[in-house]
Subunit: 259 residues, 2 copies
Amino acid sequence: MKQKVSIVKIGGNLIENETILDEFISNFAELEGPKVLIHGGGKLATQLAGKLSIPTQMIEGRRITDAETLKVIIMAYGGLASKTIVAKLQGKNCNAIGLSGADLNLIRSVKRPVKEHDFGFVGDVEEVNTGALTLLLENDITPVCCAITHNKNGQLFNTNADTIASEIARALSNHYETHLYYCFEKRGVLRDLKDEDSVIEQINAASYKQLLGEGIIADGMLPKLHNCFNALKENVSYVYIGSIDMISNRQTKKTTITL
Amino acid sequence: MKQKVSIVKIGGNLIENETILDEFISNFAELEGPKVLIHGGGKLATQLAGKLSIPTQMIEGRRITDAETLKVIIMAYGGLASKTIVAKLQGKNCNAIGLSGADLNLIRSVKRPVKEHDFGFVGDVEEVNTGALTLLLENDITPVCCAITHNKNGQLFNTNADTIASEIARALSNHYETHLYYCFEKRGVLRDLKDEDSVIEQINAASYKQLLGEGIIADGMLPKLHNCFNALKENVSYVYIGSIDMISNRQTKKTTITL
């Protein structure tokens, strides 16, 4: 029987609030067995770019990463967010290590091809270094991964954190029983955005199509669920969407995604 | 016979210049055997603090690290400098990993006690995690360490990069024959600051006293040499001061420090 590994992604909006971050850190540190944390840091980068008077350019809700914006992202995600989380986890006796995709050649990507738009220094994941992750996990080390990848030729790239979580879970699925948790502001996928109690507790491929048709799954939830199903198709064992409470032992509603 | 390990510290002034950094990266990547890189990033932090309108407060030539300045240092050293160096090393097939003292609990420190002055979030090194460093080195991984430490209780600290290099060399001296290189702008300790060719090729404890008396060693060179002698007293095998050329196979003058 394969050993269980927990891959937990926490959204950038959550880590900005120190109270919520500290609560999450406690929950995560107590999680038993090998585990990986993937964090965003979206607003942190936007705030820093603002203070530095670097304009945030968006196309269809997606950030364009020019050279100056990339530096901001490296500083905010790879520096401040990463080291703050690692120091807090070490304070809870969780032997964490902060990593970008360049560290240990963990995640190699290619620049997103220019089609209709040029998103700049954005990388599409090509390969996860499973050996490096396994070496760390087998030594009771907890990787804390930020949403930065590289091309193995000196260039760093901004990459979607949900995708990184899904790719890491896929890569580990040959060696482990993988449990992928997407933590965000809500308690799960909601049937009615105005009703926090309307969590849809199970979504499978069939009900997903139906929810899409009804317009219940839309906007930011679309790429998230796309990543969930991709992960399940590539042998990730379990995928969950919910609040930071779902990784603690407290009973809480969450959305479980299955094929 | 113990295996040789090279511990190389590169100053912040050098890594700002991309041409010099790239030359250093090539030299460092070609260095044979296990190795550790320690980098500063001084001006990068000062520039970023300036752009963010965070005043740089200095006492007797030393930076005061208030909460906002600490964030800047984490972003500049732990983020931009670290990840840029790691990505470049990976591009040269050197399996680098960027670390602060919090990562793997690598360097635990305590806040510098307030005596005459309060330097703020500045940490004095208490313990280097030799086991963690050895695990990496034995797996052909090259640690790239920035000048940030932690108190194992969630707090990060700014720490002098020369000191970190010296402490890491000391910690590794039980397992390895340690060669500690301090790379800076000059070709070594100069007898005459205006004459780049006046490198003092050997300094030992006796000649050090004499050079101090003559006023030839002064200012920034004082703490650097203090670190060198401390390292040698704690079983570091060799300590060198010189330019980035000294770690390549090219013949070049450098200063060798002995007891």
